[in-house]
C-alpha cells in the first residue's frame, strides 16, 4: 500500500513528465508540417486583440499609482522631478512584464484550460485524433505561438500606457513639468533595460499557455473536472510566472549587465 506522500509524489512526477513531454511535442510540431495557419491567426486575435482592454487598464492604473506612491517618498528627499525615472524603470523592467503576464494568465490561461478541458470531457479531443488530426498541432501549437508572440506585444503596450499613467499624475497632480518627466524616464534607463524587459514576456507567454494547455488536456471527471482545471491552470501559471520572472531576471542580469 502506498502512503499518501508516495502517491502524491508519484502523481506530481507523472504530471511534470506529462508537461515536459507536451512541451517537447509542441516544439517539434511548431517546426514541422502541417501548420494550421488559420487557427494561429484566430488565436493571435483572441489572445492579442482580446486582451488589449484588460492590459490597457492594468498598465494605466499601475503607472498612475506608482507615480502617486513614489511621489510621496521622493518628496521627502526633494526629488519629485525623478518620478519619471522610477515609473519608467519599474514599468519596463518588472511591472509591465509581470502584471501583463498575470492578467493574461487570468484571462487567457483560464479560458484555454476550460476550452480544452470541455473538449476532453466531451470526447472532442478523441474525435480529433479519430479524424486523423493531431490535437497538439491543431490546438496547442497555435495557442502557444500566439502566447509567445502576443504577450511581448501586450507588454510593450502596457509599458507605454503605464508610463503615460505616471505622466498624468506627475503633471496634473504633482506639478512636474511634462518635459522633465519624459527626460527623466529616458535618463533613468540603461540601454540593456528595454532588452531585459522585452525578453522576459516571450518566456512568460510560453509558460502560461503551455501550462494551461497541459492542464486542459489532462481534465478528468466531467464538468466538475473542467472547473477544477480552470482554477488549477490559473494558480499554477501565476506561480510559474513569478518564479520564471525571478530566475530569468537573475540570468539576464548576469548575462546582459
Amino acid at each position: 500500500m502506498l502512503t499518501l506522500l508516495e502517491r502524491w509524489t508519484k502523481a506530481s512526477l507523472a504530471d511534470l513528465q506529462g508537461y515536459v513531454l507536451l512541451v517537447g511535442r509542441t516544439m517539434r510540431a511548431a517546426v514541422s508540417r502541417p501548420f494550421y495557419v488559420h487557427d494561429l491567426v484566430e488565436q493571435l486575435e483572441q489572445i492579442g486583440v482580446g486582451s488589449l482592454t484588460v492590459v490597457l487598464l492594468t498598465g494605466f492604473f499601475t503607472g498612475a499609482v506608482l507615480a502617486l506612491q513614489s511621489g510621496i517618498t521622493l518628496d521627502q528627499f526633494g526629488a519629485r522631478s525623478l518620478v519619471g525615472r522610477l515609473v519608467g524603470a519599474s514599468m519596463i523592467l518588472e511591472l509591465g512584464p509581470v502584471l501583463t503576464a498575470l492578467m493574461i494568465t487570468g484571462r487567457v490561461g483560464s479560458s484555454i484550460a476550460a476550452e480544452l478541458g470541455s473538449m476532453e470531457v466531451t470526447e472532442q479531443i478523441s474525435a480529433l485524433r479519430a479524424l486523423g488530426a493531431d490535437p497538439v498541432r491543431k490546438l496547442v501549437v497555435p495557442r502557444v505561438l500566439a502566447g509567445f508572440f502576443m504577450v511581448p506585444v501586450l507588454t510593450v503596450i502596457a509599458d507605454f500606457v503605464g508610463i503615460a499613467g505616471g505622466w498624468v499624475i506627475a503633471t496634473f497632480q504633482m506639478g512636474v513639468a511634462s518635459g522633465v518627466y519624459w527626460s527623466s524616464v529616458t535618463e533613468g534607463l540603461f540601454w540593456q533595460d528595454p532588452w531585459v524587459g522585452l525578453t522576459k514576456p516571450f518566456f512568460l507567454g510560453f509558460v502560461i499557455v503551455t501550462i494551461a494547455c497541459h492542464v486542459g488536456l489532462g481534465v478528468t471527471g466531467g464538468t466538475q473536472g473542467v472547473g477544477r482545471a480552470t482554477t488549477k491552470a490559473v494558480v499554477r501559471a501565476s506561480i510559474a510566472v513569478l518564479a520564471v520572472d525571478f530566475f530569468l531576471t537573475k540570468l539576464l542580469v548576469f548575462l546582459v549587465y
Partner: protein
Amino acid sequence: MEQRAATESTVTLEEAFGPGAPVVLFDRVRLSFDETVVLSDVSFTLLKGHTKLLLGASGSGKSTILKVLLGLLKPDSGVVWVNGHRIEDLPEEQIMPVRNDIGMVFQEGALFDSLTVAENVGFKLYEQTRMPLDEVRARVEEVLGFVGLAEYIDRMPSELSGGQRRRVAIARAMTTKPRLLLYDEPTTGLDPITAATVDDEIIKLRDLEEVSSIMVTHQLRDAFYIATHSARRENGRITIVPADEAKVREAEFIMLKDGRIVFEGDAEALRTSKDEYLRKFLS
C-alpha cells in the same frame, strides 16, 4: 511477415492472413489501468460487411475496445489488426493512415462546438486533403442528405437536438467513405423514435454502402433491431425491412463482463442462451 513471426500464432490470428481476411482482428488483447483490469484476453474477428454488436454493463470494457481499435489506447499485450494493418504498437504518426479508413461515432456525437455542421462533417476533407472546396461542399451535402439533415448544413451544433447531433456525427464518420464504422452508444439517452431513426441510418450504411461496423450499446432493443433488419433501395427509395435468415446470422453479438467475453453468437443464440448472467441482462 516479420511481425507475424514475432507473435505466437493462434487460430484467430491465422485468419488475418488468408483470403477473405477479417477487417478487424483482436487476439488475446489485455489492458489494465493501474490495478484495474479493463480488457482480459479479448479475441474476436469482424468480417467485411458484417456487424458486431458489443453488449455489456457500464464499465465492462465495451468502449475501450473501440478506443484500442482506433489506436487511442495501447493494449498491454495481444495483437490488433485493422484493415490489414497491425496497430497495437504503431506510433501516433503511423496510425493516422489506418484511421483514415475508420469512421467513429462517439457517445453524444462529440461534434466540434466552434464549427458549423458543414465544417464538422467535412472536417477531414477540409483539413487533410486538397479537394476543391466546392467538391467538399458537395460531398458534405450528399452525406447530410443520406442522414436526412441537408437543410441543417449551416447550423451550429448547439442548435441541433440530441438525435440530430448523433446523425450529424454519423454523417461526419462516413464522409471519407471508410471501410469500417464504429459506434459508441449511438442511441443512449435518445427517445425510442429518435433512436429508431439513428438505427435506420446504421442499417442503411451497412447494407447500402457495405460498411463493416462495430456497435457498442446497452440498448438491447436497438441491438436486436439492427441485427434483424436490413435496408433495401427500390426505385430510388430506401426502405427498412426485416432481414432474411442469412443476414440475421451475419450480425454477431458479443457480451462483455468485467473485461472478458462471456458470449459470442447470433441473435437467436443470445435469445436462447441459458447462461444466468445473460438471462439477467436480457430480462
